[in-house]
């Protein structure tokens, strides 16, 4: 067989806010960088995201949260993946996240945090440097 490995990334929007523009822009940039992006739509619970990530065998999960609930939702996804034995799936996130929260989130296993104003190139670059097909 001829190997053709591609990065697979789940882009998800946990929580109650309906602002999915950012998530869609990121999804497009990742596609344009040659990645396969699974987009699951709005209002996902952490359990749903974990289940999708495992079924889709993704390399990383990107979470977009605008509602301010990142301190609960992001670690919940990391925890859920760990419980299912899928801690090798990386988690990154973006949204309106105060600077003070960033070290705490990193401590809880969110590997990359992108705040408003981050260019999509930077996100793509971060993934290419930190994530590889499992």
């Amino acid at each position: 067989m001829t190997e053709k490995r591609k990065l697979r990334i789940l882009v998800a929007k946990p929580g109650l806010d309906g602002h999915d523009r950012g998530a869609k822009v990121v999804a497009r940039s990742l596609r344009d960088a040659g990645m396969e992006v699974i987009y699951t739509g709005l209002h996902q619970t952490p359990e749903m995201i974990v289940s999708s990530a495992i079924q889709e065998d993704v390399d990383a999960v990107g979470l977009s949260i605008m509602s301010g609930a990142h301190m609960t939702l992001m670690p919940a996804v990391v925890k859920g993946l760990k419980e299912k034995g899928a801690e090798d799936i990386m988690v990154f996130g973006g949204g309106i996240i105060p600077d003070d929260d960033i070290p705490l989130l990193k401590e809880k296993g969110i590997d990359g945090i992108f705040t408003p104003g981050t260019s999509t190139e930077k996100i793509v670059e971060w993934i290419q440097q930190n994530v590889s097909p499992r």
Binding site: K6, D32, E36, E47, M48, Q55, E56, D57
Partner: protein, 343 residues
Amino acid sequence: MDEAFIEKLLNRDVRAVARLLRWIDDGMEDARQTLKRLYRHTGKATVIGITGNPGAGKSTLTDQLIKRFRKRGLTVAVVAIDPSSPFSGGAILGDRIRMQDHSLDDGVFIRSFATRGHLGGLTNTTTDVVHALDAAGWDIILVETVGVGQDEVEVQRLAHTTLVVMTPGMGDEIQAIKAGILEIADVFVVNKSDRDGADRTVRELEQMLDLGRGAKPTLGEILHHGGKVDLSEQAEDKRIAPDKWVPRIIKTVALRGEGMDDLEKAMDEHMEEYKKACEDSSFVEARLKQEFVEIYRRTLLNRGWSYLMSEDHIKGIIKKMKDHSSDPYTLAEQAIEALGSKG
């Protein structure tokens, strides 16, 4: 091969199956070795193909079908295929959005695939994916094709029952639809039938079917092709379906679940007819032949390709073409012979 991994696969372990599907998708050797072990466990699942134009409502219909099968206590795996970008090679796979109600149900497994350049509505390895899911023990496998609408005839080779989903208001476009897509349908679903023109679409379909009747080659004609094993691409795509079946036309509004009883009934009836057709061993053999030819071609191509790429064989070939010391026809023959002697 890791016995524990095989054991997990056969027991429908989601992580293991998800992993194997990734190996398959990425063309890894481990996938092939695993599939060799799994093949004898296949043949139990019912495979349903869902094809049709973009926006016809394939994913919403799939969602409804999942509900129906779950009510009957059957487990369901969905293979949802979306196109890869021909420019970047990337893809956005969004079919799950319409199936989120099932994301916490252990009896439902949904996997998105990108075509990665493959034409025909499926991916290069959908056959393998279906084998894996079948062996793992899912009762129903729903294969939702890309949805470009013209040449997605491949799915009928894989599926026991093929649904072609359309919407009203296509008007004369139905006439323009290539014969292929009409011929592959076991059941036509006229979705969004609360819109104007649904009855007209149904009538037009009926007319098309009437015109087409009789032109369909019988199984005997397909099989006996001069007693030769036909390895051409056409042979691979030829439709092998129950002779007696007359395609049904069902109106639905999938978003609201309307018409689903009728659809379920039509699908059941077709499956019965399919099982009857399987009593004829030549029918089963013809389907197996198609399956083999597809895998054979892929294996040949892969082996040929890895030979060309190994030890820079391709460079030597190009050099000989460049200085005209040989010709591409001879070189191609030589490369294939070298392949054979390598065992």
